[in-house]
C-alpha cells in the first residue's frame, strides 16, 4: 500500500494571472482558490498511514487467532485507487481549445493585416497642403458629396451640416 508519487506539473500562477483578461478574473480566482484548497488538503494527509504494531497486539490481545486473522486480512486488503474519469474530457477540451484558439489567432492576424493596410494608406498620404479636392475624396471617400442622391446643394442631408 505504498503512496504513489504524484505527477503534478508546476503551474506558474503568476504568469497565468498575467494572461487573464479582466473579464475572466473572477473565474480565475475561483480556480485558484479551488486549486489551493485541494493542494492544502493533499498536504495535510500523510502519504502512508503509520504501520500497525502487530507484535504488541499479539502479545496483549487474549483472544486467540483474532490478531492473526486481522493481520492476514489487512495485508491482503487492496485499497482501490480512484478511477480517473475526467482527464479524457480535459484532453478533449484542450484539443478544442487548440482549434478555436488557432482560428482566433488566424482571424486576429487577418484583422491586423487589415489595420496595417489602412495604416499604410494613411501614412503614405500626401500632405493636405498639396491636395486638391479630388485627392481628398480619394483619400477619405466619406467626404465625397453624393451628387446623384442629393442633386441640390448642399448635396447632403441638412442634419449633417
Amino acid at each position: 500500500m505504498a503512496g504513489r508519487k504524484v505527477a503534478l506539473k508546476a503551474v506558474d500562477w503568476a504568469a497565468f494571472a498575467e494572461r487573464v483578461p479582466a473579464a475572466q478574473r473572477a473565474m480565475f480566482n475561483a480556480l485558484k482558490t479551488r486549486s489551493d484548497a485541494l493542494s492544502a488538503r493533499l498536504a495535510a494527509l500523510p502519504e502512508k498511514p503509520p504501520a500497525i504494531d502487530w507484535a504488541q497486539y499479539k502479545a496483549v490481545v487474549a483472544k486467540a487467532g483474532m490478531v492473526d486473522e486481522f493481520q492476514k486480512k489487512f495485508s491482503a486488503l487492496k485499497v482501490p485507487e480512484p478511477v480517473d474519469t475526467q482527464t479524457d474530457r480535459i484532453n478533449a477540451q484542450e484539443q478544442e481549445a487548440e482549434k478555436s484558439s488557432r482560428e482566433y489567432v488566424e482571424a486576429s492576424k487577418a484583422r491586423i493585416a487589415h489595420y496595417e493596410q489602412q495604416l499604410q494608406k494613411l501614412r503614405s498620404m500626401i500632405p493636405f497642403e498639396q491636395m486638391t479636392l479630388e485627392d481628398l475624396y480619394e483619400a477619405f471617400p466619406e467626404t465625397k458629396l453624393d451628387k446623384e442622391k442629393y442633386p441640390y446643394w448642399p448635396h447632403k442631408p441638412i442634419a449633417d451640416l
Binding site: V6, R19, L42, P46, F70, T87, E94, R123
Partner: protein, 227 residues
C-alpha cells in the same frame, strides 16, 4: 531672391501638386516685378528702369496723352487711402487668412492622426490578445493538476480510513480486556476484604481492641517523652 516658376515650359504635370511657394514673386514699389529690373540691368545699369519710367511719364504728360483732370485728383486720393490701408493692416489680414487655412488643415490632420493612433492601438491590442491566448496551456495544466491532487487525496484518505478502522477494532479489544481484568481485580479485592471482615469473630475483635489500647498507651508514653 528670385523664384522663377517654370511657366508651362514642360508638357508633363507633376502630381501631386508641388507645394505652393511661401512668398510670391519679388516686386519693387508693389507694382513692378524684379525681373524687369534684372532684365534691363546689363544694358542700362541700376538707374535704367527709373529713367525709362520717368521719361515715359513725362512723355505722357507733356503730349497730353494722359490728361490731368478732376479724375486724377480722385484717383490720387483713393489710391493714397488704399495704399495707406494696405500698408497698415495688410499683414494682419494676411495672417488671419492664413490662420483660417491652417485651422482647416489642422483639423484634417488631427482626424488623420487620430485614425493612425487608433489603428496602432488596435494592432497592439490584437497582439496582446494573441499573447493571452498562448496562456491557455496554463489553464489545462491547472485542471489536470487539480484532478491528480483530488485522486491522490482520495486514495490517501481511503488508506487512512482502513488503518483507522482496524486500529479502532484492535484497540477496542485491548480496552475491553483491560476493563474486564480491572473489574475482576476490584471484585476479587472487595470479596477478600468482605470475607476477612466477616471472619473476624466478636472474641477476636475484643482482644484486638484491648491490644490496640495497650499499644496506644505505650506509644503515648513514648510520644510525651519525645515532645
Amino acid at each position: 531672391i528670385l523664384h522663377s516658376r517654370p511657366l508651362h515650359t514642360t508638357h508633363q504635370r507633376s502630381a501631386p501638386l508641388p507645394p505652393l511657394p511661401e512668398k510670391g514673386g519679388e516686386v519693387r514699389h508693389g507694382l513692378i516685378p524684379e525681373e524687369f529690373f534684372q532684365f534691363l540691368y546689363p544694358k542700362t545699369g541700376v538707374t535704367g528702369p527709373y529713367m525709362l519710367g520717368t521719361g515715359l511719364l513725362l512723355y505722357l504728360l507733356s503730349k497730353e496723352i494722359y490728361v490731368i483732370n478732376h479724375e486724377t485728383v480722385a484717383a490720387a486720393c483713393i489710391l493714397s487711402i488704399i495704399i495707406y490701408g494696405i500698408k497698415k493692416y495688410g499683414a494682419d489680414v494676411a495672417a488671419f487668412a492664413d490662420k483660417l487655412n491652417e485651422e482647416k488643415i489642422a483639423k484634417m490632420a488631427a482626424v488623420k492622426n487620430e485614425a493612425i493612433k487608433d489603428l496602432e492601438t488596435a494592432i497592439e491590442e490584437e497582439k496582446k490578445e494573441q499573447w493571452r491566448v498562448e496562456g491557455r496551456r496554463f489553464l489545462f495544466d491547472a485542471k489536470r493538476n487539480n484532478i491528480a491532487m483530488l485522486l491522490e487525496a482520495n486514495y490517501r484518505e481511503r488508506l487512512l480510513m482502513v488503518y483507522n478502522e482496524v486500529k479502532k477494532r484492535l484497540d477496542y479489544q485491548v480496552a475491553m480486556q483491560n476493563l474486564k481484568r480491572q473489574k475482576e481485580q476490584d471484585h476479587m479485592i472487595q470479596w477478600v476484604e468482605k470475607n476477612v471482615i466477616q471472619s473476624i469473630t466478636p472474641q477476636q475483635q475484643k482482644e484486638s481492641i484491648a491490644k490496640c489500647i495497650l499499644d496506644l498507651k505505650a506509644l503515648s508514653k513514648s510520644a510525651q517523652a519525645a515532645v
